[in-house]
C-alpha cells in the first residue's frame, strides 16, 4: 500500500512536469507569435519589449527559457504582469486560491452528504413514491444553470425577502482567518448554489450504481448468508458503489478548484481563481493566464492522485503490487 502511494505520487510529479513543459511550449514556442509582444500586452513600447525579452531570456535557447520561466514562477515568484504594471502574479494566485478552495470545499461537503443520502434513500425505496421524487429532484437540480440559480437566490434574499434574510450578508468574501462566522455566512449561498448541481448528479449516479450492485451475485450471496437488506445495502452494495462516486468526485473537485467554479464566483462576487482567469483572459494578461492554467492543471493532477490513493483504500483489486 505504501509503495503504491509512493509510485502514484511520483507519477503525479511526472505528469505535472509534462504539463508545465506543454503549457510553456504553447505560450512561448507557438510559431509565428512573438512572446515578448504577447507578454507586454497591447501597444507596448520598444523599451518594454526589450525588458521583457531580457527578463524571460527570449533570445536564449528554449530549455533555458523554460528554466527561467519556472524559476520566476515557482522559486523567485517575482513574475510580474505587464498589463497591470508592476502587479506580481504569484500573490494574485495565492490570494485567489483560498477563496476558491473555501467555496469548493464547503460545497463539496454539502453535495456529498446530500447526494449520498439521496442516492441511498432512493435505492432503498425503489418502487415506492419517494424514489422517483428524489430522482426528479436530482434531474431538476442538474438542469438549473448555476448563473440563473445564483442570480435568483441573490435577488430573492437581497431584495424581495430581504426582511427574512436580513442576517445574510451581501456578496463578497471574508477570509476565514478574519472571521470564521462571516466567512461561513458569506459563503452559505454560494455553497448551496454550487452544491445543487453536483448533489443532483451524485444522487443519480449513486442510485444507479446501488441498483446495479443490488442485482450482483455477491448480493445474492449476502442474502443467502442471512444478512438483513439494510446491512446488505449499507455494507456490501454501498461500499462497492462508492468506488465510482469517489472517482467522479476527484475529477469534479480538481476541475472546480482549478477554476471551473467561475460562474458561481462571478455571480456572488468571489475573487477566486475562476474570476482571476476570466479577468486575465479579458485583459490578455499572459503571465497571469499562464500561471492560472498551470495552477488549474496541477490541482487536477493532485486531486486525481489523491483519488487514486483513496480508490486503492476502497478497492483491494487496485492495490496490485507488481
Amino acid at each position: 500500500m505504501f509503495s503504491f502511494v509512493l509510485r502514484r505520487l511520483a507519477s503525479a510529479v511526472l505528469v505535472m512536469f509534462s504539463i508545465s513543459v506543454m503549457v510553456f511550449l504553447i505560450f512561448f514556442a507557438t510559431p509565428g507569435v512573438n512572446p515578448a509582444a504577447r507578454i507586454a500586452g497591447r501597444s507596448a513600447s520598444p523599451q518594454v519589449l526589450a525588458q521583457v525579452s531580457a527578463e524571460f531570456g527570449l533570445n536564449r535557447p528554449l530549455p533555458v527559457r523554460y528554466g527561467l520561466m519556472m524559476w520566476h514562477l515557482f522559486f523567485k515568484q517575482d513574475l510580474t504582469s505587464y498589463v497591470n504594471i508592476g502587479v506580481k502574479v504569484i500573490p494574485q494566485i495565492t490570494g485567489a486560491a483560498p477563496v476558491t478552495l473555501s467555496l469548493v470545499l464547503g460545497a463539496a461537503v454539502i453535495w456529498l452528504v446530500v447526494g449520498v443520502l439521496g442516492g441511498l434513500v432512493a435505492a432503498a425505496n425503489r418502487g415506492r413514491w419517494i424514489d422517483p421524487l428524489i430522482m426528479f429532484g436530482g434531474i431538476a437540480a442538474v438542469s438549473i444553470p448555476v448563473f440563473w440559480l445564483g442570480q435568483v437566490v441573490g435577488l430573492l434574499t437581497q431584495t424581495k425577502f430581504h426582511s427574512v434574510f436580513r442576517w445574510l450578508p451581501g456578496s463578497g468574501y471574508v477570509s476565514f482567518t478574519q472571521s470564521p462566522g462571516q466567512w461561513a455566512l458569506h459563503l452559505l449561498l454560494p455553497w448551496l448554489t454550487l452544491a445543487t448541481l453536483y448533489a443532483g448528479v451524485y444522487a443519480r449516479v449513486l442510485r444507479a450504481e446501488l441498483v446495479n450492485a443490488m442485482n450482483e451475485d455477491y448480493v445474492r450471496t449476502a442474502r443467502a448468508k442471512g444478512l438483513s437488506e439494510r446491512r446488505i445495502l449499507m455494507r456490501h452494495a454501498l461500499r462497492c458503489s462508492l468506488i465510482s462516486v469517489v472517482s467522479l468526485f476527484g475529477l469534479d473537485f480538481g476541475s472546480l478548484v482549478g477554476g471551473a467554479a467561475l460562474l458561481t464566483e462571478v455571480v456572488f462576487g468571489l475573487p477566486g481563481i475562476g474570476m482571476l482567469t476570466d479577468t486575465s483572459l479579458q485583459n490578455l494578461d499572459l503571465p497571469v493566464i499562464m500561471a492560472c492554467v498551470m495552477y488549474g492543471a496541477f490541482f487536477i493532477v493532485a486531486a486525481s492522485a489523491v483519488v487514486d490513493v483513496l480508490y486503492a483504500v476502497l478497492d483491494p483489486r487496485v492495490r496490485v503490487v507488481k
Partner: protein
C-alpha cells in the same frame, strides 16, 4: 417440498418456471436435481429461500423445513434460516463474493450474524473452516481478497462460508459448472467429505449426470419446470424410464466408445411461454404419441416417472439399443 410452483408474469404472458415440484430430503441425504439450463432447478431453490425478489413472481405450494412451513415467511424470520440452518453454494464463484472485503471478513460476518461469537472467535473459526475446505496456509489467506484466489479456491471459500454455521441443509446450485474438470472432481469430493463430517443434507442442482452418479442418493429429473422422473440414484441412472432421462444419460460421453458425434437430444428447451398443455417433452420426444397431448402425472412408488409409455414399450425400445445406456 410439496407441489412448489413459481410463475412470472411477463409482457408475453405467464411463464411457469416451476410447475408442481415435490421433493423430500432426509437427514444426511444427498438429493440431486437434474435438467437442462432453464428447466427451473435454480428458481425452485431460490424461491424456497425467499431469494426470488421479483414483483411479478407468484410462488405457491409448501416447503416444510424441520416441521415448519417456511414458504412465504417474512424476511425477518427467514434470515436466521438463510446462512444459519440452510447454507447455499452458488454456480459462479468468481462473482459470488463481495470483491472489496477479505474472505475472512465475509465468513466472520456470516458467523456473527447467526451466533454470539466474538470477532476473535469468529476469525479463528473462519481460519479453521478455510483449512477444512483445503485452502493451504489458511491463517495467512484469511486476510486475502477474493480476486487473489483462483476459481476453485474461491468455490472452496464459498463452501466454507456456507458451512460456517453448521447448516442442516446445504443447497448447491451447480457448484462445479464454472470450474475446470480436475477442480470439479476435487470440489465434489470435498462436498462428499463435508457431508460426512458436518452431517448436513445436500440438495445439489446440476445438469451433469456424472455429478449425480458421483454424489446423489436420490434424483429428480426436471424438464420445463416439471419433474419428469424421480427416484433413488441407482434406479434412475441404471434403469431410467423417461425418454428425457435417456437423452440426458446418452449425452454423457464415455471413454472407450468411439462415435461420430456426441449424442444429443434433438431440439432445444422450448421457450417457457410455449410449454404445451400435455407432456412438456413431447415436441422433442422420439416416442411421442397421441396420448402425450394430455399431461402425464408422476406415478409409481419409490421410482416415479411422468410418461405415457408402458412397461413393455419401454423394454422394447431399450432392447433396440436406443435410449442408451
Amino acid at each position: 417440498m410439496r407441489d412448489l410452483s413459481v410463475s412470472f408474469a411477463t409482457r408475453q404472458g405467464v411463464v411457469r418456471a416451476v410447475d408442481g415440484l415435490s421433493l423430500d430430503v432426509a437427514a444426511r441425504e444427498v438429493v440431486g436435481i437434474v435438467g437442462e439450463s432453464g428447466s427451473g432447478k435454480s428458481v425452485a431453490m431460490y424461491s424456497m429461500l425467499g431469494l426470488v425478489r421479483d414483483a411479478n413472481a407468484t410462488i405457491s405450494g409448501s416447503v416444510v423445513f424441520e416441521g415448519r412451513e417456511i414458504l412465504g415467511l417474512p424476511d425477518k424470520e427467514m434470515q436466521p434460516l438463510r446462512g444459519g440452518q440452510i447454507g447455499m453454494i452458488f454456480q459462479d464463484p468468481m462473482t459470488a463474493l463481495t470483491p472489496v472485503f477479505s474472505v475472512g471478513w465475509q465468513i466472520v460476518e456470516q458467523i456473527r450474524q447467526h451466533t454470539d461469537m466474538t470477532k476473535g472467535q469468529a476469525k479463528a473459526r473462519a481460519i479453521e473452516l478455510l483449512a477444512e475446505v483445503g485452502i493451504p496456509d489458511a491463517r495467512r489467506r484469511v486476510d486475502s481478497f477474493p480476486h487473489e484466489f483462483s476459481g476453485g479456491m474461491r468455490q472452496r471459500v464459498v463452501i466454507a462460508m456456507a458451512l460456517s454455521c453448521n447448516p442442516r441443509l446445504l443447497i448447491a446450485d451447480e457448484p462445479t459448472t464454472a470450474l475446470d474438470v480436475t477442480t470439479q472432481a476435487q470440489i465434489l469430493e470435498l462436498m462428499g467429505r463435508l457431508r460426512d463430517t458436518h452431517g448436513s443434507s445436500i440438495v445439489i442442482i446440476t445438469h451433469d449426470m456424472g455429478v449425480i452418479a458421483e454424489m446423489a442418493d436420490r434424483v429428480t429429473v426436471m424438464y420445463a419446470g416439471r419433474p419428469v422422473e424421480s427416484g433413488p440414484e441407482v434406479d434412475v441412472v441404471r434403469a431410467p424410464r423417461h425418454p428425457y432421462t435417456w437423452g440426458l444419460l446418452g449425452a454423457v460421453p464415455r471413454l472407450g466408445e468411439r462415435s461420430e458425434r456426441l449424442a444429443t437430444i434433438p431440439g432445444n428447451v422450448m421457450s417457457p411461454l410455449e410449454v404445451p398443455e400435455g407432456c412438456a417433452f413431447a415436441p422433442r420426444c422420439e416416442y411421442a404419441m397421441a396420448q402425450c397431448a394430455q399431461r402425464p402425472a408422476l406415478t409409481g412408488t419409490g421410482h416415479q416417472h411422468a410418461c405415457w409409455l408402458g412397461e413393455e414399450q419401454r423394454v422394447a425400445i431399450r432392447s433396440d439399443g436406443k435410449g442408451a445406456p
